[in-house]
C-alpha cells in the first residue's frame, strides 16, 4: 500500500518536472519538428539545383537521423517539398545567382 502511494507520488513529480521543462523550453519545442523537413528540403534543393548533384547523391547529402515521411521533386517548377514529423516545407530554386529559398518564408 505504501509502495503504491510512493510510486504515484513519484509519477506525479515526474509529470510536474516534465511539464515544467516543456513550459520553459516551449519556444524551442514548438519549432523543433519543423527542422526535419526544412533542412531536408533546403539542402536537397541547393544540392540538386545549385551544385548539380544527382538525386541519389543529394538524398545522401540531406538525410538526417530522423527519417522523412514524404518527398517530392518537381523538376519543372524547380521545387522540393518534404514532410517530416508532421510538418511540410517547400523550397524553390530561384536563380543561378541566388540559389534556393523557402517558398513560404
Amino acid at each position: 500500500m505504501k509502495i503504491k502511494k510512493f510510486i504515484r507520488r513519484l509519477a506525479l513529480l515526474f509529470l510536474l518536472v516534465a511539464g515544467l521543462w516543456i513550459v520553459l523550453n516551449w519556444t524551442h519545442i514548438k519549432s523543433f519538428p519543423g527542422i526535419i523537413s526544412a533542412f531536408y528540403a533546403k539542402e536537397f534543393c541547393s544540392c540538386y539545383f545549385v551544385v548539380g548533384g544527382d538525386e541519389e547523391f543529394c538524398h545522401n547529402y540531406a538525410r538526417q537521423w530522423v527519417p522523412i515521411s514524404s518527398f517530392a521533386l518537381d523538376k519543372q517548377a524547380k521545387a522540393v517539398t518534404v514532410t517530416g514529423l508532421g510538418r511540410s516545407t517547400t523550397v524553390v530554386h530561384t536563380s543561378e545567382q541566388f540559389g534556393c529559398a523557402y517558398r513560404n518564408p
Partner: protein, 401 residues
Amino acid sequence: MREMLPLLLLLVVGLWSCSKPSPVRKDGETAWQQSFGKKQRDYWPTTDWRVADPVKAGFDQQKLKAFRDYTFQRTGDEKNRAGIRTDGVVVIHNGYLVFEEYARGYDKNRRHLVWSDTKSVLNAAIGVAVRQGKMNIADSAGRYVPQLNTDEKKAITVNDLLQMSSGLFWDEGYESSPLKSLVIAMLYTRGRNDMGRFAAEQPVIFKPGERFYYSSGTSNILSLALKNALGEKDYEQYFWKEIFEPLGMRNVTMERDGSGIFVASSYMYVTPRDFAKFGYLYLNDGQWEKKRILPEGWVKYTVTMAPAYYSTPMNDHLRKDNPGAHWWLNLGIPETGQAPPWPKAPRDTFAASGHWGQFLFVIPSLDLVVVRTGDDRDGSFDINTFLGLLVESLADRGGKP
C-alpha cells in the same frame, strides 16, 4: 566561528578571482607582416589560373603524393558517410596552380557549398564598404541595425560583431544540440524569415569585447547592417560588382533569407578555382591588378587576434579557434604556452573555415593558397596532418613552419 574565517576569506578571494579572468594581453597579436602584398606578380588569374608543374615549382613529387593519398583516401561508401570525404583540392603556389584534384562527382566547374567560409567573404564586403566610406568598424552597429539601437545594445560596434565578441547570446550547436541550437533555429525555423533581426534580438549576456564565442548570428547581423548601409538595390549586386567580378569569380551562388539578406553565415557556393582567387586577394594584401579592393590596413586588421579571446576562459574547443575578424588564425598564445591550432603549418597561416570540412588557407610565408572542400561527417579528416603533408612537400624550398 574564528576557525571559519580563513575559509570564508578563501571563498571570497576565490569568487572574486573567478568573476573576471584577467586578460593575458589587451591588444591582439597579428599574423600580418610588412612583406604582405609586396611581391610582384607576373600575371593576375582574373581570366583563369595558369598551371605550373609542381616539381619545377619546387615540390617534392613523393611527398606531394603522400599529401594526395592522405587527402583523397576513402574508407566508407556513400550510405554510411564515414571517413575522410574530400571533394576537391586546389593549391596555388607563387600565383600558379600546382595541384588540383576532385572526387565524388565534383569537377572544376561544379560549385561546392562552403558553409561558414562564407563569413570570410562577408569580411571582404564590409572591407569594401569601409573603403567607400559607407561603413565604419568603430561605429555602433545600432547605426545600421535598428534592433541594436537600444540603450542596452548600442555599445556593440561593427568591430565587436566582426570579432565575434558582441556579448549577444548565442548557441552554436548543429547536430549536438538541435533543440536549443540557435544556428538551426536561424537557418531552418524561427529565424529564417529574418536572420539578421533574429540574431540581433538575442539578449545581452556580456559586455562587448569581453568574451569571444563563435556566433553565426553575428555574420547575419552584419549582412543586415551592410544592406541597410548600402540600400537594398546596391546591396543585391554588391558582392558581385565589388568582389567577384573584379577577381573573375564567375561561378558563385549566394543564397538569401526571407527578408532578402544574404545568408552570410553559411550559404555561398563556389568552385575551388574561383575560391582560390578570393584567397589570393588576401595573400596580396587586398590588392588586385594594381587596384585596391580592400582598404589599406584591412587585411592586417582581419588577421589580428580578437582581443576578447585573451580574456575568455580557455577550453579545448576554444583553443582550436583563433579568431581574427571573420577569419581564423594560427597564432596560439605564446604568453601562456598555448599552441597554434595547426602546429604543422606556419604561424602566419590564416583561414576561412566551414562545417563538414570546408577550408581556404592563405600562407604568406610560403606564398600558398589552398582550397579544400569536402563532406566530412565524423571528424576523421585531420586538418593539421593535411597541412603538415603539404608544407613538408615544399620543405626543400625553405617551407619550414
